[in-house]
């Protein structure tokens, strides 16, 4: 099973037993994505904690 990253359009392989609400990373752009629907699978960008880059 796979889904498309809503950020970069990369293909994300998903486990068959993926759960609603699970967070999956995009292998291409590194976005953290939340499974918001299972049938069909829909991914949305999950809120992420910004890192401090010295600013």
């Amino acid at each position: 099973m796979s889904a498309q990253c809503p950020e970069c359009e990369g293909t994300i392989a998903l486990a068959a037993d993926i759960l609603d609400g699970e967070i999956v990373p995009c292998p291409d752009c590194g976005a953290e994505l939340e499974v918001v629907s299972l049938n069909p699978v829909v991914l949305e960008l999950a809120p992420e904690v910004e890192e401090d880059w010295g600013e």
Binding site: C8, C29, G30, E32
Partner: protein
């Protein structure tokens, strides 16, 4: 086995060529020349090769015919003696700048002298497989690539291929480079007390590699600056480009994926999270990868196109071996599988 000899093997590029060729399953290194070090073991100058080979440096006068002659000589030396070398090697890969430019006028303009063998220029293919793979497969003569030019050429490749660059505006590229770009011969500027810790603008304008970028991509309005920083290996190109029309992140992902497809040494690094969000030369030391990425300022249409590579590898010796593989029908990646070190 393919017999390969290296002419001018005592420099850093020569050492990397030798390291790669000694591990190449289809190559036998026949001779390595150095006039100054003739008779000495090659590991006297390339200490990482101790135990890997008993080869000693030969003088050029003892060079024998071979399948491939790789020239790693100072600029203009290869061109002055190309007829002699062509009589010794069935194929030639010249790592210098002598045969990179197709136009002798451009050579004169950027190198300040007439080309010594202009009729040979059209016989050489520019050794950047990402642009000239098919031509490299079918030629006997390949030129090397400029390390800074390669970093910029690969940084710009996705945008050029996708036709996204507004060529009415200048393309400005800055390359941060390590000390090995200056070669193995010391000078006043490389004295540790002077070189250590520098952020040295050594070529803010007028760098010769500009000509290779103009030739490769057909860009006229391109300007480069080179800055030496505290690294031994590595180059990071940061190119400022303005796009035609509005462009978003997805457009750029499509352009970069299209450019990197079927390019075994191009990797897209454009991560939203983690420590390595953008290309970083540090982790590429010793590898033939070129990592490409970007940042987009949607409000102004400015794309900052990035490319990191090891100047001695993808910027010189690694590219040469990649070309050797293509010229002889080997798997393009053979002998170039090392992935770099982390941490380093």
């Amino acid at each position: 086995m393919l017999s390969v000899s290296i002419v001018g093997g005592s420099g850093y590029v020569g050492g990397e060529l030798l390291r790669l060729l000694l591990g190449h399953p289809h190559v036998e290194v026949r001779q390595v020349t150095s006039e100054r070090l003739a008779g000495q073991y090659v590991y006297s100058t390339h200490p990482n090769l101790r135990g890997r080979t008993e080869l000693r440096y030969s003088p050029q006068s003892s060079l024998e015919p071979c399948d491939v002659l790789i020239l790693a000589l100072p600029h203009s030396s290869a061109a002055k003696n190309i007829e002699h070398y062509a009589g010794l090697g069935q194929a030639i890969i010249d790592c210098s700048a002598d045969f990179r430019l197709r136009d002798p006028e451009a050579y004169s303009r950027w190198y300040g002298e007439k080309h010594p063998a202009p009729h040979w220029l059209e016989r050489f293919v520019y050794g950047l497989p990402e642009l000239y793979r098919e031509q490299i497969r079918s030629t006997r003569y390949v030129s090397g690539v400029g390390c800074n030019a390669t970093a910029i050429n690969l940084a710009l490749l996705p945008l050029v291929k996708a036709g996204l660059i507004d060529q009415t505006k200048p393309v400005v590229a800055e390359v941060k480079v390590g000390s090995s770009e200056a070669g193995a011969v010391a000078n006043d500027g490389s004295h540790h007390a002077e070189r250590s810790g520098v952020v040295r603008s050594f070529a803010p304008v007028g760098h010769r590699h500009t000509a290779e970028i103009m030739q490769a991509h057909g860009l006229e309005n391109v300007h480069i600056s080179i800055t030496s920083v505290e690294m031994v290996r590595g180059a990071l190109a940061t190119c400022h480009v303005f796009t035609q029309g509005s462009v978003n992140e997805r457009d750029l992902w499509r352009a970069y994926r299209a450019a990197a497809a079927e390019q075994p040494f191009l990797r897209i690094v454009h991560d939203r999270s983690g420590l390595h969000r953008h290309p970083e030369p540090k982790i590429l030391a010793g590898s033939n990868y070129a990592d490409i990425g970007w940042a987009l300022d949607e409000a102004t249409g400015r794309v900052v196109a990035l490319c990191a590579l090891d100047n001695l590898m993808k910027g010189a010796a690694g590219a040469a071996i990649q070309c050797l593989n293509l010229m002889h029908g080997f798997e393009e990646t053979v002998g170039l599988e090392f992935t770099g070190l982390h941490p380093v």
